[in-house]
Amino acid sequence: MIETPLTGNIKPGVSLDIKAYEAAGGYQGLRKALQQMTPPEVTTLVKESNLRGRGGAGFSTGMKWSFVPMNVEGPKYLICNADEMEPGTFKDRWLLEGNPHQLLEGMIISAYAIQATTSFVFLRWAYKKAAQEIRRAIAEAHAAGYLGQNILGTGFHLDMHLHTGVGRYMCGEETALLNSLEGKRAVPRAKPPFPQISGLFGKPTIVNNVETLCFIPHIVNKGAAWFQSLSRTGDGGTKIYGVSGRVNKPGAWELPMGVTMRELIEEHAGGMQHGYNFRGALPGGASTDFLTTAHMDVPMDFTSVAAAGSRLGTGTMVVLDDHTCPVGFVHNLEHFFAQESCGFCTPCREGLPWTEKILYALERGEGTEADLEQLDLHTRLLGPGNTFCALAPGAMEPLQSALKYFREDFEQHVHEKKCPYGNYTH
């Protein structure tokens, strides 16, 4: 039996209320942390568990917390990034709708670890049901004494607010998220200073993903060694994986960190639909490099996927099948990135629409060999180090790997002067 600490208690169509959550052992982690552990002990425990951020970057959560200065006067903030907007990603929705108290408990413990007194859930507008459940859960937690003044009689105080966004992918970038919470345009900030030192309203701030925060109560309850033991590989824990595209049973599953792409597609997603063959997949959302049939047995953890030339990202995979045009597929992605670029730095603002236009020209049969060279050039010019934030480099990951693995498709568009797949209606 595979352990599923995050989702084991979630029943389809039901959102756990506080009674059901407590009956399943909920808020025991909070009691333990507040009553038996010092804030630095919580941070050390999370560091030892090797929990890596589930929002896409995979940075050590405990390490991130340890950069917060503990001896400064004034407010600190803990923010849950629930702006799930990476195309192909639908994992946090499950946790938010199904078990909101698990997230709240994780947030309260995390706030205690960094001694924050105010916390926010930054939720994307589209998650209407999640907003409803989180509002209810915050009210229930207040009534039960888990939020507000003197939590569990320990003197710790925490307020929690739900902020629902008004669109834009950029809000998921942590410094842009902070600007948005301050009522500004969601453009990224220069780093350093990092948010841990100077974040929301210039105060020390931690921003963590939903899935990351949901693990915290379980790590406090059961320990770092237990968390490590959930995983098949060096990166601790379980992971919520997802598969979408032309598979028989698209969905999301909580599985040991390090399952292979083959297991995900063949066992959990029920294999490819009849008549469709697997050509490749983005392992963790729109901004990750393609993996192909050669990578079917790569363990889907942060380290192994990076070694295979991609990123685990959000762990929710989008499958490219043999009836779908890889050029059209990448055009769709670059359309998204060009539209969502905040326009703050030039390479991204100018470069992404250009790549989108070239790809669209290829799809219409108007592409040339020189266009392919332009695309190659863009993958370098918009790559890491040339832009203000990770949006454009992320946008180049699927493009550069498509040019590498599906080059013959790009060339076919040029030579035949049309899209051989006929995917577009416009």
């Binding site: 607010h161 309203f201 597929f329």
Partner: protein
Amino acid sequence: MNKLLTDFLYMLTQTEISKIEHELQQVPVKKAAVIEALKIVQEERRWVSDENVDDIAALLGMSADEVDSVATFYNLIFRRPVGRHVILVCDSISCWVMGYEDLKQGLMDHLQIRYGQTTADGRFTLLPNACLGCCDHAPALMVDNDLYQDITPVMIKDILAKYK
């Protein structure tokens, strides 16, 4: 709220003003409430007019241009009138793979409008939207606050019939 400022405001209702003032109490600086203020106004009126922008600016001690720079950045603050119902069609990758192009065409044919337009009877505005986060049930769309998943073009008529 002092009398002078109330007289100066063009058209925000007392309800909108009280809601915005409530938000102002939650934030350390007035500007931080601008997104909430825009949401409050849009909830009442479906969109945010130039006059509304001026009023929000006056309430928050910002310039109208500063408020507008925020309003126009976010795709779900509408600065032009929209219909009674807004249809947001997910145009991101999983939906595209699973039949978005046909769905889009079906909607445009049914409503006789293109993206960004509103039907002549003012009933629907049609807009594309980035990933709605239900990729395992693609293609998907939202009508106002309601999510519809696993949509095929033949389902369009019945879905839209619910919205008057």
